[in-house]
């Protein structure tokens, strides 16, 4: 049950975040703090042709069409290592935004994921400096400290302490493949901080075209050709099923045949004797005839009091109350108030009728 709820929520969240492409982090169309519309617009203004392919095949075609830089933002890691290798081969230059360790295995470069940059609670550590031979990184100087550390042939922007090792931007030996461990620097929120903007323009603006590829679930490579499961079954299964059907029909015939005709049971009339009283009660209630109900309850109580006080049952109420006052010692006025009060609402009726019962109990000798 809980699992089903979690699954439903997960699917819902995935669908919501998947459908809102404009709202996705680092989307070139997203003007929000997490988006990267700023970078994309600046690049477009500078004359770089920013392309957004919708699928893997489209991205590959764009990269094959001419010299282009690939920016691969695959935060959910839909693509396999082979697919990424195919893309980077086709591209002049590639920048992979925070890829997973699994996705780096087929690159042909000695790049690997080290781990997240340690959290800096004080905030007094200086921002990481390039500290490497890559001219693009050196041009940027410093960037915001965020993201994951990678190890590789050229490691830029190491953590301030040097522990763990690695850098936030790592390139292969020839510099054509770059892994940006801190894709957050491209976001609208932080693009203006430190040398983030410089790094972004250096990385993405070096070619006349930029292929900004955000893979979706549709790009997940299938593992292989599907097999018709029926071909795995032995040849006699169809016949067996047919024969079992025959057996089932026989079993139905066996169990379905009754031992002789049904016996009929003449059912008696069933009337609960108290039903008329219940029906009348509902009539009273639906008609809100509180007065009528109260009068009935009162006369019932008076009748019983008269019997226990040895007063004639046809005597007027005042006579019965006199006798009750003599027996109980209550003042006559109080008895009159308790007995002859006329309730008008349901709320009044209930406690009043309970009071009648109590009075009866007090006056009637046990």
């Amino acid at each position: 049950m809980v699992g089903a709820v979690v699954l439903a929520l997960t699917v819902l969240i995935t669908l919501l975040s998947g459908t809102g492409e404009e709202g996705a982090p680092l989307s070139p169309e997203n003007p929000g703090p997490e988006g990267a519309r700023g970078v994309a617009q600046v690049l477009a203004d500078e004359g770089v042709d920013v392309e957004r392919p919708g699928s893997f095949d489209e991205a590959l075609a764009l990269l094959d069409a001419g010299p282009a830089t690939l920016f691969l933002n695959d935060a959910r890691q839909y693509l396999s290592a082979t697919q990424i290798a195919t893309l980077t081969t086709a591209a002049d230059r590639s920048v992979l935004a925070g890829p997973g360790a699994r996705q780096l295995t087929a690159l042909g470069e000695d790049i690997d994921l080290v781990g997240p940059l340690p959290f800096d609670p004080g905030g007094d550590t200086p921002p990481p400096e390039a500290a490497c031979a890559d001219p693009r990184a050196s041009a940027a100087g410093t960037i915001t400290a965020t993201g994951s550390l990678y190890s590789g042939p050229v490691e830029c922007f190491p953590s301030a302490t040097g522990d763990p090792p690695g850098g936030l931007y790592v390139t292969g030996a020839d510099g054509s493949v770059g892994v940006l461990g801190a894709p957050g620097v491209l976001a609208n929120r932080s693009i203006t901080a430190e040398g983030n903007a410089a790094l972004a323009l250096q990385l993405l603006g070096s070619s006349p075209a930029l292929v900004w590829f955000e893979p979706t679930g549709a790009d997940v490579a299938s593992v292989g050709e599907g097999i018709d499961p029926l071909t795995l079954l032995p040849p006699w299964v169809d016949l067996l099923l047919a024969w079992l059907l025959v057996c089932a029909v026989l079993a139905m015939l066996w169990r379905g045949r009754r031992m002789g005709p049904l016996a009929t049971e003449p059912l008696p009339v069933l009337v609960r004797a108290a039903e008329t009283a219940e029906g009348r009660a509902r009539l009273y209630q639906d008609a809100r005839s509180v007065e009528h109900a109260a009068a009935t309850l009162r006369s019932g109580t008076l009748t019983r009091l008269a019997r226990s006080l040895r007063v004639d049952h046809s005597a007027p109420a005042s006579e019965i109350i006199d006798a009750a006052a003599r027996r109980s010692g209550y003042p006559r006025e109080e008895l009159e108030r308790r007995l002859l009060h006329r309730p008008t609402t349901n709320r009044e009726l209930v406690p009043w009728s309970q009071g009648l019962l109590d009075l009866e109990k007090e006056i009637t000798p046990p």
Binding site: L239, L244, V269, A277, H292, G300
Partner: protein, 430 residues
């Protein structure tokens, strides 16, 4: 023709050749085998048409007790018969094992009993017996339904007979047989006997004493050979259930206790069940045991969904007993039906007879009346109060017309009615 579980099992065994030799041939062959075997079995089965069935049923069984329906099955064929038979009893007959197996060698007969424990009073009918005769392989069978009608009378349970000993003792105390001799206990002069210490001095017969040396007292005994007419109302009001028992059944209990008591008390009892016409009538003057005649007559009584016609009751009572008698009307005190029906007819009875109107009171009304916890409960209490007041008013009207009224909950009604009878008898009002 009927197939059995064995044939289905054999068909399931066909899975083996289907797996071992896949192909339609094995299926067809196996199906052919099944058909041949089943046909052979049916052909070899003894014909159930030539079975002789005789049923023996008891005349009646008291509700709540068990009885046996005995069946003698005779095989008239030349083959051994492996039969399963089933009696088509209705569910309220409570048949414990209506379906049984029996093996009948050729020409022989076997006796089987079906244990019944009926759960409702009335007449149970069984019309048929179904016989299924299986072949020697037990793969297929032949089945027919043979008419074999039978009737079982489920008699009223007479739970109130547990009150009988104490009521009889009370009755005997009125009689001269008991040591207690109260003057006024009875009005008929019985005999003279010697005075013993403790006798009422007022009962000394001085004239007889003068003739003898010892003191002689007179003894009385209650009147005998009076008539008691019990009229049981079987109209629509008797269908009402009180504590899961119809008014009719409570009335039957009360009528049984009163009738048996009155018969032992030396009175003549006439029982009438009436709504618009006479449903049952039993007279104690007829030969045979009164109790068995009563329960037999009461067994088939059912509440009829029609209004009682009380105007015809005086004539019915007159035809049962032309003399002055005690007339007991077992009916209900629902204000509407009594005012319309019984009240106008009552003077016709009270002018000739002593009339007792006995009715079952619903204890549920008292419970409803006392519950005033919520608004709807209070309205229910008011409605119950109304019903009780109406009953009281009706009872008062009946008393004004000269009838005695016995109004009691189901368990109390039979003994209370018996007490009323004893009281009236002691007072010499019969």
């Amino acid at each position: 023709m009927v197939i059995t579980g064995r044939l289905v099992l054999l068909a399931l065994l066909g899975v083996v050749p289907v797996i071992v030799y896949p192909g339609s041939t094995s299926i067809l062959l196996w199906a052919l085998l099944l058909i041949v075997l089943a046909a052979l079995d049916v052909a070899l089965a003894a014909s159930p048409r030539r079975i002789g069935i005789t049923r023996t049923l008891p005349d009646g069984v008291r509700l709540g007790e068990e009885c046996d329906s005995a069946l003698v099955l005779r095989n008239h064929t030349a083959r051994r018969m492996r039969a399963t038979f089933r009696e088509t009893w209705q569910p309220s007959a409570g048949a414990r094992d209506p379906e049984q197996r029996v093996a009948l060698p050729r020409g022989e007969a076997r006796r089987r009993t079906v244990r019944l424990r009926p759960v409702r009073r009335g007449i149970l009918r069984v019309d048929t017996v179904t016989v299924r005769s299986a072949g020697p392989l037990g793969l297929a069978a032949r089945q027919i339904t043979v008419p074999a009608p039978g009737v079982l009378r489920v008699l009223p349970p007479f739970h109130s007979r547990r009150h009988l000993p104490s009521k009889l003792r009370k009755l005997r105390e009125l009689d001269g047989r008991s040591a207690v001799q109260l003057r006024g206990a009875g009005t008929e002069f019985d005999s003279l006997r010697d005075y013993v210490r403790g006798d009422d001095v007022r009962s000394i017969d001085w004239r007889a004493t003068a003739r003898r040396r010892g003191t002689v007292v007179r003894t009385w005994r209650p009147e005998r050979d009076r008539r008691v007419v019990v009229v049981l109302d079987t109209s629509r009001t008797s269908a009402g259930r009180i504590l899961d028992e119809p008014r009719l059944d409570t009335g039957i209990e009360a009528a049984l206790l009163l009738s048996v008591l009155a018969e032992r008390g030396g009175d003549k009892v006439h029982f009438l069940a009436f709504d618009r016409r006479l449903r049952a009538r039993v007279d104690s003057s007829a030969r045979g045991n009164l109790l068995s005649a009563l329960v037999t007559a009461m067994a088939p009584l059912e509440p009829e969904l029609i209004e009682a016609d009380w105007s015809r009751v005086p004539a019915q009572v007159r035809s049962a007993s032309p003399h002055r008698s005690l007339v007991v009307l077992l009916t209900s005190l629902d204000s509407g039906s009594v005012e319309e029906g019984l009240l106008p007819a009552l003077p016709g009875l009270t002018e000739r007879h002593v009339v007792v109107v006995a009715s079952v009171r619903d204890p549920r009304l008292e419970d409803l009346r006392a519950d005033r916890s919520t608004a709807s409960a209070t309205f229910r209490a008011a409605a119950a109060e109304r019903a009780l007041l109406d009953r009281a008013a009706v009872a008062r009207q009946l008393r004004l017309l000269g009838a005695e009224v016995v109004d009691a909950v189901p368990a109390e009604l039979p003994p209370r009615l018996a007490d009323t009878y004893i009281r009236l008898k002691a007072a010499g009002r019969l």
